[in-house]
Symmetry: C2
Subunit: 215 residues, 2 copies
């Protein structure tokens, strides 16, 4: 095989397109948001705190790396991940980052719910307790995201409505709140509110993407 060098350069260059797509913080945030379901440019831009134009250009990068696809629905253009592998890759990338990067670990510790981040021991036992009704699994994301996908036995009360709807929750059982994932702070706020109001609340770091990712 001659030209081996040229061929190899070409192959690795192609794979690097995926790496490049994952090399920008804002693009990662957009991918994370798209793990919650399809969204319009407006929504994505707003939730990532960037201009529509900048979101559009980042989404263009993601589209050129074939990681996302678009679908027109009336006046809106909805973006969604190209397939489940993209969400899985995002989960694996941020999991590896959490494993290896001390700075990230420290930052995550800081936002951990006080006094300590009561992580449910494991999925099996959480699932079991939720099935039996011993704990309430609470999805505090916007309703559309809940409708798109949610954890087993989860109930939906968006963070914005939580204060008004506290009465729906029982005080005699633990409430396990989750949101978009470890980098979303909605569940942190929810747990803080619930504890202030006398509930026994636990923060689940995982979101639907982490839950669904192949282990």
């Amino acid at each position: 095989m001659k030209n081996a060098r040229k061929v190899k350069d070409l192959l690795y260059e192609q794979v690097a397109r995926i790496g490049k797509a994952f090399s920008s913080p804002k693009r990662l945030e957009l991918i994370d948001l798209l793990c919650q379901g399809e969204k319009t440019v407006q929504t994505l831009a707003h939730e990532a705190s960037i201009s529509v134009k900048l979101a559009s250009s980042h989404l263009r990068e993601l589209r050129m790396a074939q990681l996302v696809e678009t679908e027109r629905q009336g006046k809106n253009i909805f973006y969604h991940l190209a397939n489940k592998s993209v969400a899985d890759l995002w989960v694996q990338v941020h999991t590896l980052a959490e494993e290896r990067l001390v700075d990230l670990q420290l930052a995550l510790q800081k936002i951990a719910t006080q006094p300590d981040d009561l992580v449910p021991s494991d999925r099996e036992s959480l699932l079991k307790a939720a099935r039996k009704g011993e704990v309430v699994v609470l999805d505090v994301r916007p309703t559309e995201e809940y409708l798109n996908a949610h954890l087993p036995f989860a109930r939906s009360i968006p963070l914005e409505e939580l204060r008004q709807r506290l009465a729906e929750l029982p005080k005699d059982r633990s409430i396990v709140a989750y949101c978009r994932g470890p980098y979303c702070l909605m569940a942190v706020d929810a747990v803080e509110l619930l504890r202030k109001e006398g509930y026994s609340a636990i923060h689940l770091r995982e979101g639907v993407a982490e839950w669904a990712a192949v282990k």
Copy 2:
């Protein structure tokens, strides 16, 4: 939670360090090489066709992203992947790239062994056939890489020695040759040579990293 934006920016920025490490073709090639086992800077630079200085600087990037670690052995400094997750991530990234990027698919088809890339149906049946001795699994990588890790039942004949050691291989059974992975061309050359010499040879795209990766 106030300062939510700042916190999020910080978190995604940290994860992006991993993405950045995976965003350069040469760094990907270095990671791929390190999936075969620990190697010195000299070796890595030579096999990736770059200068020692450039290799050193790329390895520095990988080290700062905590993806690789070093170990001194006498005059040499050996690099190795920080843990298995790094190899798994490399496999997942290039697998996704092969799933999504048409250009990559085309490039891979071009180097596929003629007349067609006889891919063994699946791992189970290959393993079964190898165990029974119905096929010979042949590792054509350098001996050190074979010694570091190899596929079950594999025999080692480095590509360089293959021509002289043809007599060791049976003509009445299929020979399944593999090397470092889909972007390594050694197995392609081996299969070409074997077929010319009248052997029944099959090219296995997977290397040890792909074989070991969680599916």
